[in-house]
């Protein structure tokens, strides 16, 4: 009985902020708020950067997941811990750390600046870097788990039938882990889309260049444009729910 009461309070706790958002939303004015130039820019920037971050996460993540899952090498546990770290690290700490590595005076950023006259902070590419940093681990961990659980006999069968390693990977392994690839990509896309702390610390809050949706929401809210903040928030809530619905079979087995 007590459990039910406490559970109800907990559910109400999770529902309340969403209810608050829906109650206070400027329903009549929604289209106007969403079509304001600054809002449209933030939306476009968010979609482009999160898509790029997801592409990078997949491009680098698949080989990384494969190595972590299949290869034995000294320091494998350390490598896996490093990859998983951004998932637990406070995002703003990630942003500060990225700054110290890739900023103009960072130990890598300095070389980039000296050799190419090019800096990452306060640029759109910097946003993509920050988002990839926080999002890729989600993809890698998901795919690594899938690769581990794949039945090796299919791959062995393919090899004995004469298929080369790349072909086996391409035509046997990848299709087998395809659902995990999709789920991992969706997860990392959602994470990249929602990234705030690392982005604002590493890339700043420059409209049109680095002001993604979460940063725009923060600025609007701080400066009293609550309607604008709510409108953008609703968009993100919708996207989050869509991701949840898409992944419901993997996460929320009822």
């Amino acid at each position: 009985m007590i459990a039910i009461v406490v559970a109800t309070i907990a559910i109400a706790f999770f529902a309340a902020p969403l209810v608050g958002l829906l109650l206070r939303a400027p329903w009549g004015n929604l289209w106007n708020e969403l079509s304001a130039p600054a809002t449209v820019e933030a939306l476009k920037l968010s979609l482009v950067c999160s898509a790029a971050a997801t592409v990078l996460s997949v491009a680098f993540g698949v080989p990384l997941a494969w190595v972590l899952a299949r290869q034995q090498f000294p320091g494998r546990r350390l490598a896996r811990a490093l990859v998983a770290l951004p998932m637990v690290l406070p995002p703003v700490v990630g942003g500060v750390a990225l700054f110290l590595a890739f900023g103009r005076r960072g130990f890598i950023g300095q070389e980039l600046d000296d050799w190419f006259g090019f800096t990452l902070p306060y640029t759109t590419l910097g946003v993509i870097v920050a988002e990839t940093f926080v999002a890729m681990p989600f993809f890698v961990i998901t795919v690594e788990a899938a690769l581990r659980s794949v039945d090796h006999r299919y791959e062995e069968a393919a090899t004995t039938l004469g298929s080369g390693r790349i072909t086996t990977f391409r035509r046997v392994t990848l299709p087998l882990i395809a659902p995990s690839l999709a789920a991992g990509a969706a997860l990392s896309w959602a994470r990249a889309l929602g990234e705030f702390g690392a982005t604002i610390t590493f890339a700043g809050n420059l409209p049109g260049r680095t002001q993604t949706m979460p940063l725009a929401i923060f600025l609007e809210f701080e400066n009293g444009n609550t309607d604008g903040a709510i409108a953008l928030s609703l968009v993100l809530v919708l996207i989050s729910m869509a991701v949840l619905v898409g992944l419901r079979d993997r996460w929320l087995r009822a």
């Binding site: 482009v48 592409v55 900023g103 103009r104 800096t119 640029t123 391409r170 420059l206 701080e222």
Partner: protein, 260 residues
């Protein structure tokens, strides 16, 4: 499939390079008139005034685009020092501009283009009867100030010191605009912000004057950033802000003229 993925990554990375999403900063002049685009980093208290100035400047110079990034001057100075893509920097205090100048980020001597004073912002109708700085620290008043490290916060605290009123442990916000918003939204009873912020908020807040002997003279310098991609346009905009027309617009937003 791997190749296609790599190609997409390559395209995206090269397309978004260093200049990012904003329109390319074009070359200097076109038929003797400035053209291209610039980004102006300006103190948040300049939001309304500079948006208007930028709009008017674009109308007078059709081939130009002026974008803005409004934030606390101290934060902007830090960003510029770290290589953020600014062409012009307009600060709410001499200290932030000095920081940028010391970092070698400003092209030539910045000029003061406006001054500002502080005011107490209260809820419309002044329900708590606040008439002085001393009234704002009474126990039943929720006071909010700008963070101590931003110009607006430094000015406010120096004002309290001049008035001999002790203020401590006050909730703060990062910019003048954000601080004023707390009062406008009813989250705080009083805030010490710029006269121009109160004017911009119109009916959302009432302003209570701070007497001259307790008030501060906020000095606003503007300068061209050394690493600008469009020196001619940046200079043209700075000249416009300092011109008599620019000063008239600033005064319309309640800024004071720079001392002659």
């Amino acid at each position: 499939m791997t190749l296609a993925r790599l190609a997409v990554v390559g395209l995206v990375v090269s397309g978004l390079g260093s200049s990012g999403f904003a329109p390319d900063a074009g070359a200097g002049q076109l038929r003797g008139r400035p053209s291209g685009s610039i980004t102006v980093f300006a103190a948040s208290s300049l939001t309304d005034a500079f948006s208007k100035l930028g709009h008017d400047f674009e109308r007078s110079n059709p081939e130009t685009t002026v974008s803005f990034s409004f934030n606390a001057s101290s934060a902007l100075a830090t960003q510029i020092g770290e290589g953020a893509p600014a062409d012009v920097f307009a600060s709410a205090d001499a200290a932030s501009m000095a920081k940028a100048v010391d970092g070698g980020a400003i092209l030539s001597g910045p000029i003061v283009f406006a001054r500002n004073r502080l005011e107490i912002a209260v809820e419309p109708g002044n329900p708590l009867g606040i008439h002085s700085l001393a009234d704002t620290v009474k126990p039943d008043v929720t006071l909010v100030l700008c963070a101590a490290i931003v110009p607006c916060g430094r000015y406010a605290r120096s004002s309290y010191a001049k008035a001999g009123v002790h203020v401590s442990n006050v909730p703060t916000a990062e910019t003048a605009t954000a601080t004023l918003t707390k009062v406008a939204l009813g989250e705080a009873d009083a805030a010490v912000v710029y006269v121009t912020d109160v004017a911009a908020a119109q009916d959302d807040v009432d302003g209570i004057t701070i007497p001259d002997r307790e008030n501060v003279d906020a000095v606003y310098p503007i300068g061209v950033v050394k690493e600008t991609q469009n020196r001619a346009l940046a200079r043209a905009f700075v000249d416009y802000v300092a011109s008599s027309r620019g000063r008239r617009t600033l005064q319309h937003f309640a800024f004071l003229a720079p001392r002659p």
